[in-house]
Homo-oligomer: 139 residues x 2
DNA sequence: CGGAAACCCGACAAAATCGGTCGGGATTCA
DNA sequence: TGAATCCCGACCGATTTTGTCGGGTTTCCG
Protein backbone atom coordinates (compact mmCIF):
# COMPACT_ATOMS: atom_id res chain seq x y z
CA UNK A 1 0.00 0.00 0.00
CA UNK A 2 2.33 2.63 -1.22
CA UNK A 3 2.60 4.79 -4.24
CA UNK A 4 5.05 4.29 -7.02
CA UNK A 5 8.20 6.18 -7.79
CA UNK A 6 6.27 8.23 -10.31
CA UNK A 7 4.55 10.03 -7.51
CA UNK A 8 7.75 10.46 -5.61
CA UNK A 9 9.81 11.76 -8.50
CA UNK A 10 6.95 13.91 -9.68
CA UNK A 11 6.67 15.59 -6.34
CA UNK A 12 10.42 16.12 -6.16
CA UNK A 13 10.35 17.77 -9.53
CA UNK A 14 7.44 20.00 -8.69
CA UNK A 15 9.02 21.08 -5.45
CA UNK A 16 12.16 21.95 -7.33
CA UNK A 17 10.19 23.99 -9.81
CA UNK A 18 8.36 25.74 -7.01
CA UNK A 19 11.64 26.66 -5.39
CA UNK A 20 12.81 28.20 -8.63
CA UNK A 21 9.52 29.71 -9.58
CA UNK A 22 9.96 32.99 -11.38
CA UNK A 23 13.53 32.27 -12.40
CA UNK A 24 12.68 31.23 -15.92
CA UNK A 25 12.60 27.77 -17.42
CA UNK A 26 14.53 25.04 -15.69
CA UNK A 27 16.18 22.42 -17.82
CA UNK A 28 15.50 18.75 -17.45
CA UNK A 29 19.08 18.29 -16.43
CA UNK A 30 18.74 20.76 -13.60
CA UNK A 31 15.57 19.15 -12.32
CA UNK A 32 17.12 15.71 -12.46
CA UNK A 33 19.84 16.87 -10.08
CA UNK A 34 17.38 16.17 -7.34
CA UNK A 35 18.11 12.51 -7.95
CA UNK A 36 16.00 11.12 -10.75
CA UNK A 37 17.13 9.26 -13.85
CA UNK A 38 16.99 11.86 -16.53
CA UNK A 39 15.36 9.91 -19.30
CA UNK A 40 12.70 8.66 -16.97
CA UNK A 41 12.01 12.07 -15.58
CA UNK A 42 11.40 13.30 -19.07
CA UNK A 43 8.40 11.05 -19.34
CA UNK A 44 7.08 12.17 -16.01
CA UNK A 45 7.35 15.80 -16.90
CA UNK A 46 5.36 14.95 -19.99
CA UNK A 47 2.54 13.80 -17.75
CA UNK A 48 2.78 16.93 -15.68
CA UNK A 49 2.62 19.05 -18.79
CA UNK A 50 -0.40 17.23 -20.15
CA UNK A 51 -2.06 17.74 -16.77
CA UNK A 52 -1.38 21.41 -17.25
CA UNK A 53 0.78 21.75 -14.17
CA UNK A 54 3.92 22.78 -15.98
CA UNK A 55 4.59 24.73 -19.11
CA UNK A 56 7.55 24.12 -21.32
CA UNK A 57 9.75 26.26 -23.46
CA UNK A 58 11.32 24.32 -26.26
CA UNK A 59 14.65 24.87 -27.91
CA UNK A 60 17.95 25.95 -26.47
CA UNK A 61 17.70 27.69 -23.10
CA UNK A 62 14.33 26.06 -22.81
CA UNK A 63 12.97 24.09 -19.91
CA UNK A 64 10.07 23.63 -17.58
CA UNK A 65 8.23 25.95 -15.25
CA UNK A 66 5.09 25.89 -13.18
CA UNK A 67 2.03 26.92 -15.07
CA UNK A 68 0.47 28.44 -11.95
CA UNK A 69 1.85 29.89 -8.76
CA UNK A 70 2.76 27.34 -6.07
CA UNK A 71 -0.21 28.35 -3.95
CA UNK A 72 -2.53 27.14 -6.67
CA UNK A 73 -1.13 23.66 -7.08
CA UNK A 74 -2.07 20.97 -4.64
CA UNK A 75 -0.60 17.64 -3.74
CA UNK A 76 -3.62 16.06 -5.27
CA UNK A 77 -3.05 17.79 -8.59
CA UNK A 78 0.42 16.36 -8.69
CA UNK A 79 -0.24 12.88 -7.44
CA UNK A 80 -3.26 12.40 -9.62
CA UNK A 81 -1.31 13.53 -12.63
CA UNK A 82 1.35 11.00 -11.84
CA UNK A 83 -0.62 8.03 -10.66
CA UNK A 84 -4.14 8.49 -11.83
CA UNK A 85 -7.06 9.22 -9.57
CA UNK A 86 -6.82 7.90 -6.08
CA UNK A 87 -9.50 5.32 -5.52
CA UNK A 88 -9.13 2.48 -3.13
CA UNK A 89 -11.22 -0.01 -4.98
CA UNK A 90 -12.28 -0.24 -8.56
CA UNK A 91 -15.84 -0.44 -7.37
CA UNK A 92 -15.83 3.22 -6.52
CA UNK A 93 -15.03 6.07 -8.84
CA UNK A 94 -15.35 6.33 -12.60
CA UNK A 95 -17.02 3.72 -14.70
CA UNK A 96 -19.87 1.45 -13.93
CA UNK A 97 -18.62 -0.45 -10.97
CA UNK A 98 -18.42 -4.07 -11.96
CA UNK A 99 -19.45 -4.70 -8.40
CA UNK A 100 -22.90 -6.26 -8.54
CA UNK A 101 -23.97 -5.38 -5.03
CA UNK A 102 -23.77 -1.71 -5.85
CA UNK A 103 -25.95 -0.31 -3.17
CA UNK A 104 -26.07 -1.84 0.21
CA UNK A 105 -22.46 -2.95 0.20
CA UNK A 106 -20.77 -2.12 3.49
CA UNK A 107 -17.35 -2.25 1.92
CA UNK A 108 -18.33 0.25 -0.70
CA UNK A 109 -19.12 2.93 1.81
CA UNK A 110 -15.78 2.36 3.45
CA UNK A 111 -13.99 2.99 0.18
CA UNK A 112 -16.07 6.04 -0.46
CA UNK A 113 -15.47 7.43 2.96
CA UNK A 114 -11.75 6.89 2.79
CA UNK A 115 -11.22 8.17 -0.73
CA UNK A 116 -13.19 11.24 0.12
CA UNK A 117 -11.24 12.03 3.23
CA UNK A 118 -7.94 11.31 1.63
CA UNK A 119 -8.65 13.45 -1.37
CA UNK A 120 -9.60 16.23 0.99
CA UNK A 121 -6.30 15.82 2.71
CA UNK A 122 -4.42 16.00 -0.55
CA UNK A 123 -6.39 19.04 -1.60
CA UNK A 124 -5.40 20.84 1.53
CA UNK A 125 -1.69 20.81 0.79
CA UNK A 126 -0.27 23.20 -1.74
CA UNK A 127 3.18 23.39 -3.21
CA UNK A 128 3.65 26.63 -1.36
CA UNK A 129 2.93 24.86 1.91
CA UNK A 130 5.51 22.26 1.10
CA UNK A 131 8.37 24.56 0.36
CA UNK A 132 7.61 26.71 3.36
CA UNK A 133 7.38 23.66 5.54
CA UNK A 134 4.07 24.61 6.96
CA UNK A 135 1.91 21.58 6.93
CA UNK A 136 -0.94 22.25 9.18
CA UNK A 137 -0.56 19.54 11.76
CA UNK A 138 -3.99 20.13 13.19
CA UNK A 139 -6.20 19.77 10.15
CA UNK B 1 -2.92 4.87 -6.64
CA UNK B 2 -5.24 2.20 -5.50
CA UNK B 3 -4.98 -0.82 -3.35
CA UNK B 4 -4.91 -4.34 -4.63
CA UNK B 5 -7.62 -6.93 -4.63
CA UNK B 6 -6.09 -8.44 -1.53
CA UNK B 7 -7.31 -5.49 0.46
CA UNK B 8 -10.69 -5.59 -1.15
CA UNK B 9 -11.30 -9.29 -0.71
CA UNK B 10 -9.86 -9.19 2.76
CA UNK B 11 -12.28 -6.49 3.80
CA UNK B 12 -15.20 -8.34 2.23
CA UNK B 13 -14.29 -11.43 4.16
CA UNK B 14 -13.92 -9.60 7.44
CA UNK B 15 -17.23 -7.85 7.00
CA UNK B 16 -18.86 -11.17 6.34
CA UNK B 17 -17.33 -12.61 9.48
CA UNK B 18 -18.42 -9.60 11.46
CA UNK B 19 -21.97 -10.04 10.25
CA UNK B 20 -21.92 -13.63 11.42
CA UNK B 21 -19.98 -13.02 14.56
CA UNK B 22 -21.09 -15.31 17.35
CA UNK B 23 -22.62 -17.86 15.02
CA UNK B 24 -19.71 -20.24 15.15
CA UNK B 25 -17.06 -20.88 12.53
CA UNK B 26 -17.84 -19.95 8.94
CA UNK B 27 -16.51 -22.14 6.22
CA UNK B 28 -14.30 -20.90 3.46
CA UNK B 29 -17.02 -21.76 1.02
CA UNK B 30 -19.52 -19.60 2.83
CA UNK B 31 -17.16 -16.66 2.97
CA UNK B 32 -16.33 -16.99 -0.68
CA UNK B 33 -20.00 -16.56 -1.54
CA UNK B 34 -19.36 -12.87 -1.23
CA UNK B 35 -17.61 -13.16 -4.56
CA UNK B 36 -14.02 -14.21 -4.19
CA UNK B 37 -12.20 -17.06 -5.87
CA UNK B 38 -12.14 -19.70 -3.23
CA UNK B 39 -8.60 -20.93 -3.55
CA UNK B 40 -7.28 -17.40 -3.53
CA UNK B 41 -9.34 -16.44 -0.55
CA UNK B 42 -7.80 -19.30 1.35
CA UNK B 43 -4.43 -17.65 1.11
CA UNK B 44 -5.80 -14.34 2.22
CA UNK B 45 -7.46 -15.81 5.24
CA UNK B 46 -4.09 -17.28 6.07
CA UNK B 47 -2.69 -13.77 6.25
CA UNK B 48 -5.56 -12.65 8.41
CA UNK B 49 -4.98 -15.54 10.74
CA UNK B 50 -1.27 -14.85 11.02
CA UNK B 51 -2.14 -11.25 11.80
CA UNK B 52 -4.31 -12.59 14.56
CA UNK B 53 -7.51 -11.15 13.24
CA UNK B 54 -9.27 -14.44 12.72
CA UNK B 55 -9.15 -17.77 14.48
CA UNK B 56 -9.71 -21.04 12.75
CA UNK B 57 -11.24 -24.31 13.72
CA UNK B 58 -9.87 -27.18 11.73
CA UNK B 59 -11.61 -30.35 10.73
CA UNK B 60 -15.16 -30.98 9.66
CA UNK B 61 -17.63 -28.29 10.72
CA UNK B 62 -14.63 -26.04 11.05
CA UNK B 63 -14.13 -22.59 9.66
CA UNK B 64 -13.08 -19.06 10.43
CA UNK B 65 -14.24 -16.54 12.98
CA UNK B 66 -13.14 -13.19 14.27
CA UNK B 67 -10.62 -13.41 17.03
CA UNK B 68 -11.94 -10.22 18.63
CA UNK B 69 -15.29 -8.47 18.63
CA UNK B 70 -15.94 -6.24 15.61
CA UNK B 71 -15.55 -3.10 17.70
CA UNK B 72 -11.95 -4.02 18.33
CA UNK B 73 -10.85 -4.49 14.75
CA UNK B 74 -10.06 -1.50 12.63
CA UNK B 75 -9.78 -0.94 8.92
CA UNK B 76 -6.11 -0.42 9.44
CA UNK B 77 -5.69 -3.79 11.10
CA UNK B 78 -7.25 -5.43 8.09
CA UNK B 79 -5.61 -3.46 5.35
CA UNK B 80 -2.18 -3.67 6.89
CA UNK B 81 -2.55 -7.39 7.27
CA UNK B 82 -3.42 -7.67 3.62
CA UNK B 83 -1.14 -5.15 2.02
CA UNK B 84 1.59 -4.39 4.45
CA UNK B 85 2.03 -1.08 6.22
CA UNK B 86 0.77 1.94 4.42
CA UNK B 87 3.59 4.28 3.61
CA UNK B 88 3.57 6.59 0.68
CA UNK B 89 7.23 6.62 -0.04
CA UNK B 90 9.97 4.22 0.87
CA UNK B 91 11.83 7.13 2.36
CA UNK B 92 9.49 7.21 5.30
CA UNK B 93 8.74 4.37 7.64
CA UNK B 94 10.82 1.38 8.64
CA UNK B 95 14.42 0.96 7.65
CA UNK B 96 17.09 3.49 7.07
CA UNK B 97 15.62 5.58 4.33
CA UNK B 98 17.91 5.25 1.35
CA UNK B 99 17.03 8.86 0.78
CA UNK B 100 20.22 10.85 1.27
CA UNK B 101 18.62 14.17 2.04
CA UNK B 102 17.02 12.75 5.13
CA UNK B 103 16.37 15.91 7.01
CA UNK B 104 15.46 19.03 5.25
CA UNK B 105 13.59 17.31 2.45
CA UNK B 106 10.31 19.05 1.76
CA UNK B 107 8.88 15.97 0.15
CA UNK B 108 9.62 13.88 3.16
CA UNK B 109 7.44 15.91 5.43
CA UNK B 110 4.62 15.61 2.96
CA UNK B 111 4.83 11.84 3.07
CA UNK B 112 4.99 11.88 6.81
CA UNK B 113 2.06 14.17 7.13
CA UNK B 114 -0.08 12.16 4.77
CA UNK B 115 0.77 8.73 6.10
CA UNK B 116 0.05 9.93 9.57
CA UNK B 117 -3.30 11.37 8.74
CA UNK B 118 -4.31 8.44 6.66
CA UNK B 119 -3.36 5.92 9.27
CA UNK B 120 -5.39 7.91 11.73
CA UNK B 121 -8.33 7.72 9.41
CA UNK B 122 -7.98 3.97 9.08
CA UNK B 123 -7.68 3.60 12.82
CA UNK B 124 -10.92 5.43 13.33
CA UNK B 125 -13.04 2.92 11.46
CA UNK B 126 -13.94 -0.36 13.09
CA UNK B 127 -15.63 -3.38 11.66
CA UNK B 128 -18.61 -2.60 13.83
CA UNK B 129 -18.88 0.83 12.22
CA UNK B 130 -18.84 -0.75 8.81
CA UNK B 131 -21.60 -3.22 9.35
CA UNK B 132 -23.76 -0.66 11.08
CA UNK B 133 -23.15 1.81 8.32
CA UNK B 134 -22.16 4.53 10.66
CA UNK B 135 -19.09 6.11 9.27
CA UNK B 136 -18.67 9.38 10.98
CA UNK B 137 -18.87 11.80 8.09
CA UNK B 138 -17.58 14.67 10.15
CA UNK B 139 -14.33 13.29 11.49
C1' DC C 1 -12.70 -47.18 12.50
C1' DG C 2 -13.22 -44.87 8.08
C1' DG C 3 -14.85 -41.34 5.48
C1' DA C 4 -15.81 -36.78 4.49
C1' DA C 5 -15.42 -32.09 5.53
C1' DA C 6 -12.86 -28.82 6.38
C1' DC C 7 -8.33 -25.98 6.93
C1' DC C 8 -3.00 -25.63 5.74
C1' DC C 9 0.92 -25.02 2.90
C1' DG C 10 4.16 -24.51 -0.75
C1' DA C 11 5.06 -24.54 -5.70
C1' DC C 12 3.89 -22.87 -9.91
C1' DA C 13 2.49 -19.53 -13.52
C1' DA C 14 0.06 -16.14 -16.52
C1' DA C 15 -0.67 -11.38 -16.71
C1' DA C 16 -0.04 -6.80 -15.39
C1' DT C 17 2.66 -3.15 -13.70
C1' DC C 18 6.89 -0.81 -12.71
C1' DG C 19 10.93 1.49 -13.68
C1' DG C 20 13.34 2.58 -16.69
C1' DT C 21 16.35 2.95 -21.57
C1' DC C 22 16.86 4.24 -26.28
C1' DG C 23 16.64 6.40 -30.74
C1' DG C 24 15.07 9.61 -33.50
C1' DG C 25 12.40 13.87 -34.22
C1' DA C 26 11.06 18.80 -33.68
C1' DT C 27 12.20 23.55 -31.96
C1' DT C 28 14.63 27.36 -30.89
C1' DC C 29 18.61 30.21 -29.70
C1' DA C 30 23.23 32.12 -30.77
C1' DT D 1 24.17 25.93 -39.03
C1' DG D 2 24.89 23.63 -34.82
C1' DA D 3 24.07 22.89 -30.22
C1' DA D 4 20.80 22.75 -26.61
C1' DT D 5 16.55 21.41 -25.50
C1' DC D 6 12.09 19.29 -25.27
C1' DC D 7 8.90 15.47 -27.45
C1' DC D 8 7.38 10.91 -28.44
C1' DG D 9 6.82 6.14 -28.92
C1' DA D 10 8.81 1.58 -28.85
C1' DC D 11 10.91 -1.61 -26.21
C1' DC D 12 12.54 -4.38 -22.21
C1' DG D 13 13.77 -6.82 -17.88
C1' DA D 14 12.28 -7.36 -13.13
C1' DT D 15 8.84 -7.53 -9.91
C1' DT D 16 4.28 -7.93 -8.19
C1' DT D 17 -0.24 -9.39 -8.56
C1' DT D 18 -3.67 -12.69 -8.81
C1' DG D 19 -4.58 -16.60 -8.86
C1' DT D 20 -4.47 -22.26 -9.51
C1' DC D 21 -3.17 -26.77 -8.01
C1' DG D 22 -1.91 -30.81 -5.44
C1' DG D 23 -1.22 -32.89 -1.58
C1' DG D 24 -1.13 -32.86 3.54
C1' DT D 25 -3.37 -32.55 8.22
C1' DT D 26 -7.05 -32.26 11.53
C1' DT D 27 -11.46 -33.28 13.26
C1' DC D 28 -16.24 -34.62 13.32
C1' DC D 29 -19.74 -38.10 12.62
C1' DG D 30 -21.91 -42.42 11.86
Amino acid sequence: MKLSTRGKYGLYAMIFLAQHHGEGPQSLKAIAEVGTPESYLEQLLGSLRRADLVKTVRGAQGGYQLSRPPEDITARDILEAMEGPFSLSDCVGEGDSPCARKENCPARSVWEFLTDKFNGLLDSITLADMIHQNLNQTT
